[in-house]
Structure formats: structure tokens, C-alpha cells
Subunit: 457 residues, 2 copies
């Protein structure tokens, strides 16, 4: 039996892609079917992402809509958009019929408004149509935008046996039964049950006697990120969504939350690296420029600002030219310290490990900056003296400036994210180039100011 062992790690090889391309070219549908049917839909999506548009459409039209709907969901968003543009409203509607309401609504919302109406008009299942239309009305960053209408719901008045009988019907529509939600006559959510509880219970018992009254829920208008936080904190695999009257509207499952988390983490990472909006390595040069140039321009203006500061201290340049060669050191250190401090604060804010105590945080960063500053200044003192033959006062200037700049950068890097967070602005924008640039300019200014004080030019 051991040769049956499945290799879970699907490897997307160039040979495989070429094989698929060749089968498409000779239109060997039978072999193509046989080959692709072996793979999980997520793997087929990976293959399609490597094909050109005509080839991808060929495969989508070849396979059954039951499979292709899942494949489309897993494909790269840009590629899916192109494929959908080449399918008729009726063809898209056939894919939609196979999807859960949340995925269906996600796909439809990617279409133009005109096509949305055309596709919805072609959906034959009236209930599915009504549910998708309802979901389309919610903002995508809210609980309503994440939830699916598929869920298993029982009334408190049912018996366990009756319940199991009816669940058999409802459960067929639901891919995974996480929880069974208990509602009263008015469809208000009043509790929950697990399939396990139902199986363990006696068949003549009433649901009202066995259900668990404590049930977490989120409001349909809650922010998607808040829903994610709640589900992660309480280790929930699904959470019911209710309206203001506690009426059960849908449920959100952990896989949707994992996607929210991933997007959040990627967005924060990109912001820290000075890239706006969710770009990917495969996006066009134009898209990438739009995401990258704005931050480079901020850095450029910072650089020009630093240029005017140095220009303003032109006396120093003439009298103490050796000071100029340490500009990169001052600037790099200010930037690095600022990024470190801000990253720790941004992460602490996201985790909730930083509570309001801004003063104690600043004090801690001050001490930390002092320790790091003294260590670095000591090394620089030795090296600048021996390698660059700085005088006593020049060395003193460089070291005092380094320590001051490190402390200031740590304080700025700590203060700005906390300040933004308190103002309700996403603190993650305050890392990366933003902090680097402001610290660059500020650091150079402090450097020359200290030079003026110590050397007196």
C-alpha cells in the first residue's frame, strides 16, 4: 500500500506546462481531461496562470463548470479578470451556480456593473440569485462582505431526531458544517450546537434543552479586520453574522479570515518597504511604478531638504571638510534606528501588546537609544581617529551627534505611529520611507547644529 502514498507537494514544472500547451495545440481533449482531472483544482489554477489567455480559456471551456468554478476562484485575480472578459454572461452564470454565495459574490463584484446585471439575470436558481444579490450590497471590508449565506440553522422547538433529518437536507449545500445555529421563531440567533452534540444527544430531546446559549456573533457592518481579530483571539473556525436586531444573516469561516490576515500582513510589509497598494511581482511596469514612485518622490524631497541644510552650513564645509564624509553614517544610522523603533511599535499596536502608556514607551526608547548610541559612538570614536585622523573636537562632534541622532530617531519612530494610531490612522504607513526620510533630514540637521555648537563656525 505504501506506493499509494500521496505526494502532497504538487510541483509546477515547465515540462508539465509544456505538456498541457501541446495537448491544447493539437486539441487532444481526451488526454487533456485525463491529465488535468488528476490534479486538485488549486493546482490546475496554478497551471492556468502559466498559460496564455487563449490556452487558459480553452481549458476553462473544456472542463465542467463544477471544476472550473473552483479553478477560477484560485487563479490569480488579474488572470481571472481576463478570462472572465472572454466568457459570455451565461457562461459566467454557469460558473456562479456552482460556487458558494460568498465566492460567487466576490467574482461578480469584479465585473463591470453592466455585466453584473447580465450575469445575475442568467442565474437560474432563484434562491442563489437572491442571496448573491444581497451579499453584493455589503462593503467588501465588512463582515457582510466576507460572509456566506450557506449555513445550517435549526429552530429551538425541533427535536434532535427531526433536526438530524432536516439537517441532512441543509447540510448537502454546505461544504463544511462548523456549527449549527439555533434560532427562535423570529430567526433571531439564540445559541449554537455542534454536530457532535447532536449525535451524542438522545433523539427525542428538544433542541431547546440541549443547545448552548453562549454564542459569539458579529454584526454585519463590523469591520473585516475586527472580525479577524475576534476569530483569532477566541480560536473560532466560524462565526455567525447578525443584523442590528440579532437576526441571523450568514456565517464567516476561518479560511476567509486567513485571506484577510494574509492581505493585511502583505499590505503592512509593503508599506514598510515603501510600496503603496497591493502590487505583485508579476504586475505591469506601469502598476509597479504607480505603487513605487510616490514613496521615491518623498525620499527625493527629503534628499533635497538635506541638501539645503548642508548648503545652509556651507561655512562648515570649508572649515571642517572631514565632517562631510560622515554624513552617510549619520543618515544611515538615523534611518535604521527609526525603522526599527517604528516597526516594533506598529507590530505592538497590531497585536494589542502596546497599551496607552505613551510616556513609558518613550522613556524606554530613550534608554534603548542611549545604550545603542553609546556602543556605536565608542566604535566610531576609535575608527574615525585612526582611519580619518579627526581632531579631538571633530571626534566629539561626531560621537555626540550620533548619540543624539539615535535617541531622536528612536523617539520619532516611536511617537509618530502611536500618534497616528490615536488619530485613527493606520500606523503602518508611518514606517519605511516615511520614517527614514524624516529621520534623514532631521538627523543631518542635528549633526550640523551640534557641530556648530562644539566647533563654533
Amino acid at each position: 500500500m505504501s506506493e499509494e502514498k500521496e505526494n502532497i507537494q504538487f510541483q509546477l514544472t515547465e515540462e508539465l506546462v509544456e505538456q498541457v500547451e501541446q495537448l491544447i495545440e493539437v486539441q487532444n481533449d481526451k488526454e487533456l481531461h485525463k491529465l488535468l482531472d488528476e490534479f486538485h483544482y488549486a493546482d490546475v489554477a496554478e497551471i492556468l496562470d502559466e498559460l496564455n489567455l487563449e490556452e487558459a480559456i480553452y481549458v476553462i471551456k473544456l472542463l465542467d463548470s463544477e471544476t472550473t468554478s473552483d479553478i477560477l476562484m484560485e487563479m490569480d485575480e488579474d488572470n481571472r479578470e481576463k478570462v472572465l472578459k472572454n466568457l459570455s454572461a451565461k457562461e459566467i452564470a454557469e460558473e456562479i451556480e456552482e460556487l458558494d454565495t460568498d465566492d460567487a459574490a466576490d467574482i461578480i463584484s469584479e465585473l463591470s456593473e453592466e455585466r453584473q446585471l447580465a450575469v445575475i439575470a442568467h442565474i437560474e436558481d432563484e434562491e442563489h440569485k437572491a442571496e448573491i444579490t444581497e451579499l453584493l450590497a455589503y462593503d467588501e471590508d465588512t463582515a457582510g462582505g466576507l460572509m456566506a449565506k450557506e449555513l445550517v440553522k435549526v429552530y429551538e422547538t425541533w427535536t434532535v431526531a427531526g433536526c438530524l433529518r432536516r439537517i441532512r437536507g441543509q447540510a448537502k449545500e454546505v461544504t463544511r458544517v462548523h456549527s449549527i445555529y439555533v434560532v427562535d421563531k423570529k430567526e433571531k440567533l439564540i445559541g449554537r450546537l455542534s454536530l457532535k452534540d447532536l449525535i451524542v444527544a438522545k433523539s427525542e430531546q428538544k433542541i431547546a434543552d440541549i443547545y448552548i446559549t453562549s454564542v459569539d456573533s458579529v454584526n454585519v457592518n463590523d469591520d473585516a479586520e475586527d472580525v479577524a481579530k475576534v476569530m483569532l483571539k477566541y480560536d473560532l473556525e466560524a462565526i455567525p453574522v447578525v443584523d442590528d436586531n440579532q437576526k441571523l444573516l450568514g456565517r464567516i469561516t476561518i479560511d476567509d479570515i486567513v485571506d484577510v490576515m494574509k492581505e493585511e500582513a502583505e499590505k503592512d510589509y509593503q508599506l514598510a518597504a515603501g510600496i503603496t497598494s497591493g502590487v505583485e511581482a508579476d504586475d505591469s511596469i506601469w502598476e509597479l511604478t504607480k505603487a513605487r514612485l510616490p514613496w521615491l518622490l518623498i525620499g527625493m524631497f527629503g534628499g533635497l531638504g538635506a541638501a539645503s541644510i548642508i548648503n545652509g552650513f556651507s561655512d562648515a564645509m570649508v572649515k571642517f571638510p572631514v565632517l562631510l564624509i560622515f554624513i552617510p553614517l549619520i543618515q544611515a544610522t538615523a534611518g535604521n534606528v527609526g525603522v526599527q523603533s517604528s516597526a516594533i511599535v506598529v507590530q505592538g499596536l497590531a497585536n494589542g501588546t502596546i497599551s496607552g502608556k505613551i510616556l513609558s514607551r518613550l522613556l524606554k526608547e530613550f534608554l534603548l537609544g542611549l545604550v545603542n548610541g553609546l556602543a556605536i559612538a565608542a566604535i566610531v570614536l576609535v575608527i574615525s581617529h585612526f582611519a580619518f585622523h579627526t581632531t579631538y573636537y571633530e571626534s566629539l562632534t561626531i560621537c555626540v551627534a550620533l548619540i543624539t541622532v539615535i535617541i531622536m530617531a528612536a523617539l520619532i519612530g516611536t511617537f509618530i505611529p502611536i500618534f497616528l494610531d490615536k488619530r485613527g490612522i493606520d500606523a503602518a504607513v508611518a514606517t519605511g520611507p516615511f520614517i527614514t526620510t524624516s529621520n534623514d533630514v532631521f538627523g543631518i540637521f542635528i549633526y550640523f547644529l551640534i557641530a556648530k555648537l562644539i566647533l563654533g563656525f
Copy 2:
């Protein structure tokens, strides 16, 4: 009924913490019980994280081990460690008895080796003890380190009715039944079933007739990150873990994977910000210095390297002093571009959206650098001329240098992570200060080299 609506968003207020502290001080156990019993264990853990050690221990000893075991799991790791140091081996064993095997093993592994043995010796449930001991043997970054022994397992020879009967027994131990795993006589994993399938099936059917033969599994020695990738890609909420002979050993659930993902994202974010090892805002100054100083030292040596380069071009400083005021601009731009490029590549590698085509990626970055470089150079050209009165050749030097530096920084930022990845090194280390520093030094060198070529000093 609407006043029953639960407020899912627990708010940790200073008043609440003070209230708990006061109740502890006057030893009002009854009120304390009443107050804390209202909250979810994850919320109580948040409260305990705010108390001092004696207070936290007081609460842990007051509440039942059924609750406190969950509270301990949710507490901050450092705080938990301190609390555990103050509990006897017997007390810890009582907490352990209440936990699932994976959580139990995680907690025990945080203890010293000597205490581990003492705690294990105090576990009364022999099966639980054996399972925990087995789990402790696996590396924490492998599937074995993530899995729990709790799962629902049926033999292919059983009938549906017999199965449901026996599952009632097994399921009581398992918090959530995701999948029922089907094994043959030799305990080899041969398929799966959902509770739903079992409920929908007729009671006299054999498991062998209804089970699903396609079942994903991971090997007990697989890397935790690979397990996470597989589960996310295939949208799995649980995955069985097998040994080399396909024998069923345990299962991993999505909540453990979410933790792996979160840790990964935080680690990458910290690496990009120049912080080694998983520190938190609340760690000691010594811990934070250990995590931050190494990268600052790298930046320092880069800065000193830049100083020698400028020193080496001292002729230029005398003849064309205006060039020096643009050093911060060149340096900041080189650093920013490098971080952007490397961040996109690191993310692409993590997502699998970057395949092997290193040459086409470099070409794309070259074009992107050219576009961004031309845009920035055009603005700098105008500003340097009017604001800093640069001569024609000086302006030309600055602009050519900017374009070259941007292109080089983009290429270096792209090449280094891909190169490291191909060598099997985590590409995430190559972002942040590492890229910034190398680009700083390189950028300044290119700047002066181009100045020498154009201005000929």
C-alpha cells in the same frame, strides 16, 4: 431579547484591571470568581497579563484548572513562564491534564528538562502522558511539533451505525471534529469521512463503501511552513499526519497554522525592519538591544565605508563642493529603491508567484528603474539648477548618477533575495538594513565614479 446581544469586542480597561487588583488585595475570592467567570478565558488571559506576578498567581490558584489551563495557553509567553516557575510540578501537571496533547506538549517544552520530567511524572492519565511524551520528541518546527493526538479514527470494516456509536465515545475527547479518518487494520491512513457524510449515510452501510479515498496528509517530519502552505493552498481546516509507512499519528488543525503564519509574517516584518529574533515591544531593554544593535552595527560599517569612499575622492570635494550636498539624496534614493525591489521579490518568493526566470525579472526591474530614474532625475535637474545653481556638467553628473544608482539598486535588490533563495537561505534577511546599507555604499561609489568621468577631476 435584544438586550441579550453579546458585545463580542471585549475591552480591557484600566478600571477593570484595578477592580481585579482590589479584589485580590482584600482576598474577596467570591466576587473575583463571579467577575472572572463572566469572561472568556482569552479575555482573562489579557487581564492577567496586566497584573503583577503575585496577583496573576493568586488568580491562577483561585480558579479551576479546567479554566486556568486555557488561560495559561493564551497568556503572553514571558508572563506564562514566570507563573509556571511559581507553580509546583504537581500543579502544572493538573493544568496539563486539561489541555489537548499539542498544547500540553507546547507548555511542557517551555520548562527546564528537569522540571519536564517531574511534571510528566505527575500526569495521572497514562494515555495522555504517553501521547505528550511522544509529541515532545518532535522538533517544534515540524508537522510532529504542531500535531495533536486527539482525532476521530474509524476502521474501514465498521458499519455506519457501529461507527456513530463508537464516535460518540471518541468525539467527547476532541474539541472539534473536522474529519473522521479511515484506517485499515494496520492503522494506515486510507481515507476520510465527514460527520456530515456519516449522518447522510444509511446506518447499515459499511465504512469501506462510503469513505473518500483521496485524503491529503503530511509526513510527521515535514517542515511546519510547508504544512502551512499546503493547508492554505487547499483550504484545509485539518490535515492528518502520518509516518513514513503512512501510519496515522495525529492531526494538525487550522488554528495552529494561523499561529505559524502570524509568526512568519511578524518575523519577516521584523527582518525587513532590521530586527533579529522575535522581540516584542514589552521585552527588556537588553533583549531589544540584542535584537537591534547587530543591524545598526552593519549600518555603521556601511556608513564608515561610505566615509572612506568620499575621503578617497577628496579632490572632488575641493573642486566641486556642490556635489557633496547631494550625497544624502543619492544615498536615500539608493536605499529606498533597494528596499522596494527586495520586498517585492521576497513576497513573490513567499507566495510562489516568482518562478525561476531570474533574467526576465532583472530586465523588468531595469526598465522600472529607468522609468522611475528618469522621472526623479527630471525633477532634480530643475530644482538643482534653480535652488543650488549647479553648472550644466554638475547637473548632468547628478542626474546620470541618480538614474544609474536607481537602476543598480533595483537590480541588486532583486538579485540578492533570488540568489539567497536559490542557495536555500531565507530571502527575508536580505531586505531592510542589509539592502539599504549595501546600496548606500554602492550608490555613493557610483556617484563619485560618474562625477569623475563627467567632470574629470
